[in-house]
Structures are given as C-alpha cells and as structure tokens.
C-alpha cells in the first residue's frame, strides 16, 4: 500500500535510476528517498530488475531455422551476379504466408499473445483420459462436486522455457467440444465465487478467443492448406481450454 501513497515518487524512480532527471528533480527525489524506506526498497527492486535484464543470457534456438530462410531466399533473383541487389523486386514466395492482411488473422494472433507462455500441453486421447481422468498440475475440482478433471487437459508445466515443447495435437472436434462444455458447466456453477472484475476479464477473453476461433475457421475454409492458419486455430482452441481451466480453477481457489 505504501507504493500507492508514494506513487508520485515511485513514478520518478526509473528516470532517477537512468539519470534522466534534471538536477532539481534528482535532488527532490533524493531528499524523499532519504526519509522514505518504502521508496528506497522500490528503487532497489528496480535496480535488480535492470541488472537482471542487462545480464540475461542468450538462449539457444529450439530448432534450426535455416531451411525456412533458404526456401525464402530462393527465387529472389539474387542468386548469381548481375542482379541489382539494392532493388530486389521479386516477392518471395516463402513470404506469402507472412503477408496476411486478413483481419481474421490479426484476431487469431491476438490469442497467441494471451494468457501465459511456457505452458506445455498435451491433449489426451479421449478414451485414455476417460479411463484415468488425470490432471497433472493445477487439477481442480469445484466445490459443488463437478469434476473438472474430466476435461482432457493433462499436463501443465509452468517452467518450460517459452515456446518449447508445445505439443500440438490434432484432436477431434467432438473431443474438444466435450472438454469445453465440461469446463463451461463447471465455470457456470462456480461463477458465484468469482468477483465481478474476474468474471468480466474471463468473459471478455472468451469472447475474443471465440471470435478468433470463428475467424480462423473462416479463413481456413478459404485456404485449407494454410498451415499457419491451422496452427492459429489449434492455438486459439488451446487458449480457450486453458482460459476455461484457469477460470474454473479460480472458482475453487478464491474460496
């Protein structure tokens, strides 16, 4: 709470730290810092954040991307001499999959950014999960006895490096729909336990995700072979399951 009281000062601490304040501003901050342990603590934390950012080590790639680059630079007309390299005018076929201007794709990409990264997923084979009904982590059970673990959401590992080991499974629609229905039901039952702002966040996000799913489907129907689009669709559906699962978990956590 101290942070709120001192917001006018804490708001200046990054500039102070970066030596971006003028002499008078710096002096004023220093004077406040001398008498305020809370703000000194914030400043120390900010220093730590900056120090960590500056020393963050490079992390290696999960996959060799050269083949895609090589495919992309074929057909640019630059192979061999005699081409005016400053004006490569031929569009690269490879890049076609990036040149989406369709608004649907923007929505689909939004979904990719949402919620958290570093989650490894596996969608279980429906028969297998029916048999074992297991949730490895974050398993939830609502207080009204609805067993959320019937959803085929199996493994959740928070410490997986971002982007790693996302198992994209082409699961059947029926299977997915059943999982979503289960979670939606559990969420509906536990809804009373969530505060209004949480409900608003969840519903808002669900709405965006649903829209993204619908739009990705629409775009896919026009271009069924587009792997980028189908990846988005899988991802959007995964996000929906994740969001529902987390929201449902909250209905039991917050009690």
């Amino acid at each position: 709470m101290g942070v709120d009281v001192h917001e006018e000062w804490t708001d200046q601490l990054s500039e102070y730290l970066d030596d971006e304040l003028d002499a008078a501003g710096r002096e004023a901050v220093e004077q406040h810092l001398r008498g305020c342990a809370d703000c000194r603590a914030v400043l120390n934390d900010l220093k730590r954040v900056v120090a960590q950012a500056q020393t963050i080590p490079p992390s290696p790639l999960q996959a060799d991307l050269w083949d895609g680059v090589a495919a992309g630079i074929q057909g640019t007309g630059r192979k061999g001499a005699g081409v005016d390299a400053a004006h490569p005018s031929t569009p690269v076929p490879f890049r076609r999959r990036f040149t989406f201007t369709v608004p649907q794709l923007a929505a689909a990409a939004v979904v990719l950014m949402a919620v958290s990264a570093g989650i490894a997923w596996q969608i279980a084979d429906r028969s297998a999960q029916r048999a074992q009904s297991t949730v490895a982590a974050g398993g939830t059970r609502t207080d009204n006895g609805a067993d959320v673990t019937t959803a085929p959401v199996v493994a959740l590992e928070r410490d997986t490096p971002a982007g790693a080991s996302i198992v994209q499974v082409a699961y059947a629609d029926a299977q997915y729909d059943a999982a979503v229905a289960d979670l939606e039901k559990a969420l509906k039952q536990g809804r009373g336990r969530l505060d209004a702002s949480t409900i608003a966040i969840v519903e808002h996000n669900l709405q965006i995700i649903d829209q993204a799913i619908a739009q990705a489907r629409e775009a896919l129907s026009a271009d069924p072979a587009n792997s980028y689009l189908s990846g988005h669709l899988v991802e959007a559906r995964r996000r929906k399951l994740d969001l529902l699962r987390r929201a449902t978990a909250l209905t039991s956590d917050t009690n």
Binding site: T10, S14, E15, E20, V42, D45, L46, R48, V49, V50, Q52, A53, Q54, I56, P57, P58, S59, L61, Q62, A63, L65, W66, G68, V69, G72, I73, T76, R78, K79, A81, D84, A85, A86, H87, P88, V92, F94, R95, T101, A107, A109, L112, M113, A114, V115, S116, A117, G118, R158, D159, P161, A162, G163, S197, I201, I208, L243, R246, L250, T254
Partner: protein, 183 residues
Amino acid sequence: MTLGGETSIQARTGDPDVALAAAGDTSAFERLYRTHVVRIHNLTRRMLGGQEADEVTQDIFVRTWQKLGQFRGESAFSTWLHRLAINVVIERRRSFAIQRERMSDDAAALDGLSVKPARADLTVDMEHAIDQLPPGAREIFVLHDVEGYKHREIAAMLGIATGTSKRQLHRARMLLREYLSGG
C-alpha cells in the same frame, strides 16, 4: 546502386561474407545467418513472445538477404541487421497493436490472480516475466534494458514520444518487480 558497391562494403566491414552474400553467395549468407541468428531470435522472442519468434526470425533473414545491397557499411553489419530486425518486429506488431494490447492487459490481470511461477531459476523467471508484460511495455523494456537503446532512439524507432517510452519502461519495470518478487 549496382554491384560496384561490394568491394567497398568489404573494405569497410572487414567481413568478406557480407560482400559475398550481397553478391548472391548463399553459403556466405548462411554463415552470416549462423553467426547472428541467436541474437536476432532472442530479440524477436523477447519482443513478440515465443510463438511468433521462429517465423519472424526467418522473415528477418529473408529481408536481410533482399536488402543486403542497401548495406553501405556505415555501421557494423550486426548493428544494421539488428535495426532491420527491430523494424520487422515493429511492423509485425503494429498490425495487431490494438487488439493485442487490449487482450494482454486483460491476460496480465488474470495472471495476477493465478499461480506465480516457481522461483528456482531467476533467468527462466526473467524470460517468463518479460513474456507476460503487455506488448507496449515489453518491447520498450527489451529495447531499453536488455538491448541498451536510449529513449530517444526507441522513440524514433517506434514513432512515439520519449515521455511515452519512459512511462512504458517504468510500467514494465514495476510489473517485473512485482512478478519477480514472487508475491
């Protein structure tokens, strides 16, 4: 704008692969790619998030190939490449800017309600934490604190006021502070 510029590029950069690649030598370009790909991928991943990093990185190198002829050796090749990469990332992000901002602010709010990650490894934590930042704050944090650009440069690259860059940086740091202190 002809191939006559190559020798001077080589003379200025001292890296024969740059000139060779500019002349169409894909093997030389592959060597350049291997030298620089980790840094570019790290930049891209941190600015855009893990999901898009591979594709955008490939896109960056394809564009690098296309634009090599415009490289005049006025800065180091790595500096030039880095700026090109940032431009591609910014361009990519702009097309989604509004929806993304809206979405991830909500997502961040939701994350505040959920489980904090384990704190075993600060490095993993930092990567993960950066990934959770709202995009506007994230890219400025990455450019300023990770990559070492000045607010003035960031403002120019992103087409924003330096004041905005400063505010977003502070916002990012405060969010990371909260996140990394575990709650």
